[in-house]
């Protein structure tokens, strides 16, 4: 299984110099109470703005009011602790093609990202959302939050127990995640995104609405991204829906598959770009190290 690669010492040593590409400081917008929750230790004055009705009077600059007789609200920059959630799609489609070990690839990437995130002592957890069966209930599995790298091996048990199954219920999984009402942080969503655009758009929008910083990692196997199937006449079955169709595989079909995968990737990338999300394409498990060490830093997933 490919996830084991993320726990090999030599690989981890190469990750030591990397940090997760997240916005660590954030403006407390307009000093609204609803955002007061993000205030905490290390608050530094950022700016002043004119008081408007509804602003928290605790942030009123009384000294300025005494000198200038003007009601001014102080704004601050907060150095926050970021909670990183790496959400892995564990639907049945992630288990195919078996030769590609797509789920293992995704879990390996998740573990590697978790290790990198722990460099800043951020709280990190990995989640997976398989279904019990085709059309069954969603199961959102999340690990415990870990901050220090000493506890990194605890992720190994979690990722090794994840099994693919059921249909992809990405929006439902995000909804379930948001119900936990965790502070806004960073959510890294790893999936093959072999679902309808409406489905993943709904999920991603939900995360954005909860003010999470979202990074999208799109994984596909070598075979399915290249369409390199044994030639012949086949009855093709969808792993999640069970739907069947007859196709004749060959060079032409492979080209069609490649074209379709590219189109799927470009549509997702465009959506992410338009919503300020980082999109990283990870096609082919055989390039695991290159993707982690070169592509992710290049695309801003890591720095």
């Amino acid at each position: 299984m490919l996830e084991a690669r993320a726990f090999e010492p030599d690989f981890l040593r190469r990750l030591d110099g990397l940090v997760l590409g997240v916005q660590r400081s954030r403006t407390v917008r307009e000093g609204r109470r609803t955002l007061g929750r993000v205030q905490g230790l290390g608050i530094e004055p950022e700016s002043f703005k004119e008081y408007t009705e509804g602003d928290d009077l605790r942030f009123l600059d009384w000294n300025a009011f005494a000198r200038l007789d003007d009601l001014t609200i102080r704004t601050f920059r907060a150095e926050r602790e970021i909670e990183v959630t790496i959400l892995v799609d564990a639907s049945a489609s992630m288990g195919l093609p078996r030769e590609d070990d797509k789920l293992g690839f995704a879990l390996g990437l998740a573990a590697a990202l978790a290790y990198v995130a722990m460099a800043s002592n951020d709280a990190v957890r990995i989640g997976a959302f398989p279904s019990a069966a085709r059309g069954g209930a969603l199961r959102l599995q999340t690990s415990a939050l870990h901050r220090r790298r000493e506890t990194y091996p605890a992720f190994r048990t979690f990722v090794s127990e994840v099994r693919p199954g059921g249909a992809t219920q990405m929006s439902a999984a995000v909804e379930r995640l948001l119900l936990e009402r965790r502070p806004a942080g960073t959510v890294i969503l790893i999936s093959d995104f072999l679902i309808s655009a409406a489905e993943y758009e709904q999920a991603l929008r939900g995360l954005l609405r909860a003010r999470h910083e979202v990074k999208v990692i799109h994984v596909l196997g070598d075979r399915e991204s290249s369409g390199d199937y044994p030639p012949g006449h086949y009855r093709v079955r969808d792993s999640e829906t069970g739907e069947l169709c007859e196709v004749t595989l060959g060079a032409g079909a492979a080209q069609s598959c490649r074209r379709r995968a590219e189109r799927l990737s470009s549509e997702l990338a465009a959506f992410c770009a338009s919503h300020g999300m980082v999109y990283a394409r990870a096609f082919g498990a055989s390039h695991f190290d290159d993707i982690v060490m070169r592509e992710f830093p290049r695309l801003g997933v890591m720095r």
Binding site: P230, R235, R237, T248, L249
Partner: protein
């Protein structure tokens, strides 16, 4: 072509399984993919797939499965390769019994058989091989299978008839020795029994050449000299013809005419002619002068012993046995002065030299006698070295059964004799009678005769107590004892025996043996100073060596063999059957069954290997583990 076990063709039903596998798996394989989204733009198939894909792998599997099924069913090829004429192996088997010496006009039956055989050999193709086998009392291979025609001709020409009956067992043995031959040609004057051919396994390969036609024959059945100066002798003559026969019989004593009688014998009749009593001892010869087909049974000899008053000793602890044995001695020679004594009372020092000594159930104390007959010898004392003239006793049986007479003929019913010793006879003794007994494995000698350095010596293993010799139900025991006494009293240099028996003659160095037909052979005397020979011809044998000379007269008579009126030939071969059989068209085709299971299995393996190679190539090309 055929099948050893057609039921194993049921394995071919697995072909249906193969078709089912193809229908399910090969005809339209299902490929599970992560999502059909990626195949949205793949064009729909232009043609529907065939239900059964009869591709190369299908035919390879069909071939493998079919070959294995055929191998399990035992497919074989039946080839009918004809034996090439130039490789034909034939066995020529000749009846060499006395009947084959019967004359039809100028030639004997054996001459006719040899002529026919030589014609067959002359017509043989190059490469044909022959074996030459003869039989009388036993089968003898005169020439093993060979393609050297000259050797075969030589072996055939050297065949001689013997004055012996041809035994059925010997014919069976001859047929078995010809087992390796493709064809067997049997030359005999009478057809063999059907079950004999079947038991010998000759079957259809045998071609019988029955030689000769029914012929008239007279035979001297028996010749008794009587007692010199006392009782008359007699001669028995038998007519084997179906019509009356005139018979002129000449009797001679030591070469001088005794009588000359001419009489008519009724068809298949027998007459007894008395003569004498003889005035003196000597060799009596009876001869049928009338010409008939078979000469071997026209002469007979017997020896009339001297009636001079010789001394005889009978030693036995039993008074009854002493009395019976004394009676036997006097019956053979009335001139004997018999001394009957208990061994305990016998005084060796004062005893004279005896002509014959009969020792019954007593140790031989070293009696001085020209001839000794040991009857029921006691075992020698354990841990003491016996004198060389004592016979080693191996054991004792409570009851012994005598199966055959002294002349070798089987008894109608076994003669029960009790008790008897099991003896280990020395090599220089000839066994005259065999017996079997409870508690012993196999047969053991009941009577033996021979010459050692002290003279003639005979042995009888059974006890003669309880008046066994006078019991009318055990007459063969008395006959055996009388024969033994006669032999012992007969001079060593003159013996009258039956043909086929073994004879020992005192000799020194190299002995010259002159047969009745005048042929001479040389034989070296053994360490006991004797020469052993086996007379196969009826007549006078002379054995001469340095300083010694012995004469043996061999008598022949066999009721079956002397009867020359055998059934008409089933197929009289005026022309050898082989001349027609050697043509290639008539050569029997030999059916050969050649199993091809190994080839079929090899074919199946080859098909599987090719299919495996194709699958491996496919798997490597598409990098899949399941193809």
């Amino acid at each position: 072509m055929g099948l050893l076990n057609p039921r194993n063709l049921l394995y071919l039903a697995s072909l249906a399984v193969l078709v089912a596998i193809y229908l399910r798996a090969r005809a339209k394989p299902t490929l599970e993919v992560s999502s059909l989204m990626l195949f949205d733009e793949v064009a729909a198939p232009v043609a529907s797939s065939r239900v059964l894909r009869t591709d190369l792998m299908f035919w390879l599997e069909m071939a493998a499965l079919g070959a294995v099924s055929m191998a399990l069913a035992g497919l074989y090829l039946r080839t009918t390769a004809k034996t090439p004429a130039h490789h034909q192996a034939r066995a020529l088997i000749f009846d060499l019994g006395a009947g084959m010496s019967a004359r039809d006009r100028r030639w004997t039956r054996l001459d006719e058989a040899k002529r026919q055989a030589l014609e067959m050999v002359a017509e043989a193709k190059p490469g044909d091989s022959f074996s030459v086998i003869g039989y009388t009392l036993e089968a003898t291979v005169y020439r093993a299978q060979t393609a050297h025609i000259a050797d075969v001709r030589q072996a055939i020409e050297a065949l001689k008839p013997a004055a012996l009956p041809a035994r059925a067992a010997a014919m069976r043995a001859a047929l078995m020795r010809a087992e390796g031959a493709a064809e067997i040609d049997l030359f005999a004057d009478r057809p063999p029994a059907g079950d004999l051919l079947k038991s010998a396994g000759a079957g259809a390969r045998l071609h019988l050449h029955q030689i000769g036609s029914p012929a008239d024959n007279l035979a001297i059945v028996a010749l008794e000299p009587g007692t010199v100066g006392a009782s008359p002798g007699r001669v028995v003559v038998r007519n084997f013809s179906d019509r009356p026969q005139v018979c002129e019989l000449v009797l001679e004593l030591d070469g001088k005419d005794l009588s000359n009688n001419t009489f008519v014998l009724e068809p298949r009749g027998q007459t007894v002619l008395p003569f004498g009593p003889l005035e003196k001892a000597g060799l009596v010869e009876a001869r049928i002068v009338t010409e008939d087909a078979l000469a071997a049974d026209n002469h007979r000899w017997t020896f009339a012993p001297n009636e001079k008053p010789d001394k005889a000793l009978v030693m036995s602890p039993s008074p009854e046995a002493r009395d019976d044995l004394a009676r036997v001695l006097l019956a053979v020679n009335q001139g004997l002065i018999v001394t009957a004594v208990d061994p305990v009372k016998f005084d060796l020092k004062s005893s004279p030299r005896y002509r014959i000594a009969l020792l019954e159930d007593a140790y031989d104390p070293g009696v001085k006698a020209d001839a000794r007959l040991i009857i029921y010898p006691p075992p020698w004392l354990e841990r003491s070295a016996p004198p060389p003239w004592q016979l080693p006793v191996v054991g004792t049986v409570t009851t012994a059964e005598m199966q055959e007479r002294a002349d070798g003929e089987q008894l109608d019913q076994p003669l029960a004799l009790s008790p008897a010793r099991i003896l280990s006879l020395p090599e220089w003794m000839d066994v005259l009678a065999h017996g079997t007994g409870a508690g012993s494995s196999g047969s053991f000698p009941l009577a033996g005769f021979g010459y050692d350095s002290r003279g003639a010596m005979g042995v009888i293993a059974f006890s003669v107590n309880d008046h066994v010799l006078l019991d009318p139900d055990k007459l063969e025991g008395l006959v055996l004892t009388v024969e033994m006494v006669k032999r012992l009293l007969a001079p060593q240099d003159l013996q009258v025996v039956s043909t086929g028996g073994s004879v020992s003659v005192p000799a020194a160095g190299v002995a010259k043996i002159t047969s009745p037909d005048g042929s001479v052979t040389l034989a070296r005397a053994d360490e006991m100073g004797r020469v052993r020979l086996r007379p196969l011809q009826a007549g006078r044998y002379q054995v001469s060596s340095a300083g010694t000379k012995a004469v043996i007269y061999a008598n022949y008579y066999d009721a079956g063999e002397s009867d020359l009126t055998a059934a008409a030939p089933a197929r009289v071969s005026s022309k050898p059957a082989a001349s027609a059989e050697t043509s290639p068209a008539n050569i029997p085709a030999r059916t050969r069954v050649k199993p091809i299971a190994a080839w079929l299995v090899a074919l199946a393996l080859l098909a599987m290997l090719v299919e495996s190679a194709l699958l491996t190539r496919k798997a490597m090309r598409w990098r899949v583990g399941n193809v």
